[in-house]
Amino acid sequence: MTALEKISAPPTRVGGTALYDWDHLVQEDRAHRLIYTDPAIFETEMTNIFGGTWTYIAHESEIPAENDFITRRLGLRPLIVVRDSDGKIRALYNRCTHRGTTLCRWDKGNAKSFQCPYHGWNFLNNGRLRGVPWPDGYADDMRDPKYNLAQVPRLESYRGFIFGTLNMDALPLSEHLGPIAKVIDEWLDRNPGGKVVVCEANRFRYKGNWKLAYDNSCDGYHVAYSHRSLLETENRFAGVNAKGMAYYRNSPDSQPMYMRYTGHGNHFKDKRPNLEKRPGGLWALESAHPGMEYYEAEFIKRYGDRAFSLLDLAGSEPVNINVFPNFSLLGNHIQVFEPISVEGTNAIWYGTMIVNDGSVPDEAVTDINALRMRTQEGFPNFGEVDDIANFEQIQRGLMAIEDEWVYMNRGFGIPDRIKQHDDGTITAPATDEAFMREHFKEWKRLMKARPNLAIQREP
């Protein structure tokens, strides 16, 4: 059995009850600038959101072998995510129980134990204190569990995606994901064996609040403008607007694509209905990437009729699947948002490659991955850079104190535009801000709550 340590409410500020009237700050169709700019709100988010709900931590393929570890964060808490010597995946607090030093400074590696660089306390990779220098200097029993590393008490994987929460009352992960799990399944199952492996990343930092990235995750309204340089570049030889996200350029709301809110802050934008349903339908949408003509010709020669369904595996899956607060699957990427401060965020686009399950020739797997790396570099290089420039300018614009409101009312109040379904999900045209109104309801619910947070230590 593992010991749980309940977290008492954080020390309250003098005179502080509730920080703000949350119903005032987040209204049905608009949000107050303070939620993006106020350091005290950010601090509350670090317990009530990053801790209070399921947060994406890592992908299992990043720690494939026993004793493999990576360092990550849950909110601002530094973590060592490790597959321990018994094969169990843990998220250890990267914080020596003695004085607080981080134990591990490497991004990744393989280690059976972690030794504090400051006074040499040594911890097994299951979090237990293994020993301290000159223990006879302590009157205390150093086997007391309080000296074992803190850990995220609830860590669950959904098909390789590891999520964690400190909230003992949070729903089981599968229930929390609910209807969005099916879309995640579809995203995975188009790959051989229903699997992907993480393979490095395009890594960005911007000077802006983390929610600016999440507000953008399902936004179909910005594409034609924020990404105009990308759309023009992708279609510079196409004659007609045919490549990439060109379908956003003309009446995007009359396209078959749509957004769907699935609860708990989660939503997805589904552009798959825009595609021609045939092998190669996805590949046909790909704009120019290094090697594409060579591999296409080679695949047709080698694999005949099967060539285009194989090439589709290198194509960018046209769906954005967003799990609140920090996780998106889009194209073939796993995108993760890491808050650094109220006005600082990392946005990391982890690439994924396919692995062979025997259904695809080995040589094709190597070649599909070579293509897939290049298709994945396209958007971060030519699209994300412009988004994050705009996020930074939002953060700057919100410094205008008296101009208080951010509007998220596109689609709001138009009869029959938004559909409520029997399963509780909501659909709307692709440019609607319904997703944002809905995830802010979840944000507000979490911010109002007094979450039942705990950490765990090995007994």
Binding site: E200, A201, R205, A288, H289, G291, M292, Y294, A370, M373
Partner: protein, 197 residues
């Protein structure tokens, strides 16, 4: 080049294939070998002038002139790991063939590349230039260190690292066949990585 229109590397990409990847990885492994260091002053000065000119053209946003320094079938590679790795299995910060380099330039010229609105001002220092011979006397590898001072959006920052250039003598001048840019923070989160390095 007299190439067929369909093989024009500005329009289609046939040269980026498995053989190229294998060759690229091979060419950029173990090349900084003291026994192959080029000590000839004149040769070293040629390398230095080549890299200084490249830096100047990029600082002046003279992209077409810059690209003219490259062979028709070229590679521009910014790895995302300090050991460079295998670009067939790893995402790079940037991995461009000629067409994608032209895409990059085209995008910057659209007027709608918000990450470069206004364009960064840059000043590049290129130092520690060392040449290394290859098995082919008309092909050399050049290592250099760079320090780019970039001013954008009220902030001045430094980007630094080292480059490997693979250059080939064509007629009387050197053409760049491949440039590998090793940013010291290649595996970390970078703010607005939108200039050509």
């Amino acid at each position: 080049m007299g190439a067929q229109p369909s093989l024009d590397p500005s329009r289609s990409s046939y040269y980026v294939n498995d053989a190229l990847y294998r060759e690229l990885i091979g060419n950029f492994s173990g090349w900084q070998d003291d026994t192959r260091a080029i000590v000839d002053f004149a040769a070293r000065d040629e390398f230095r002038r080549l890299l200084e000119r490249e830096a100047r053209l990029l600082d002046q946003l003279r992209y077409e002139d810059w690209l003219a320094m490259y062979a028709a079938e070229c590679i521009y590679w910014v790895p995302s790991t300090p050991n460079a790795g295998d670009p067939r299995r790893e995402i790079s910060v940037m991995f461009d063939d000629r067409r994608r380099l032209e895409d990059r330039i085209y995008r910057l010229r659209t007027g709608f590349a918000w990450s470069q609105a206004p364009a960064s001002r840059t000043v590049r220092l290129i130092t520690n230039v060392e040449g290394f011979a290859t098995a082919n006397k008309d092909t050399c590898m050049v290592r250099s260190n760079f320090l780019i001072t970039e001013f954008w959006d009220n902030e001045t920052r430094l980007l630094s690292g080292w480059c490997g250039h693979r250059i080939v003598r064509e007629n009387d001048s050197w053409k760049i066949v491949a440039k590998q840019v090793n940013l010291i923070e290649c595996d970390q989160c970078i703010r607005n990585p939108s200039i050509i390095l």
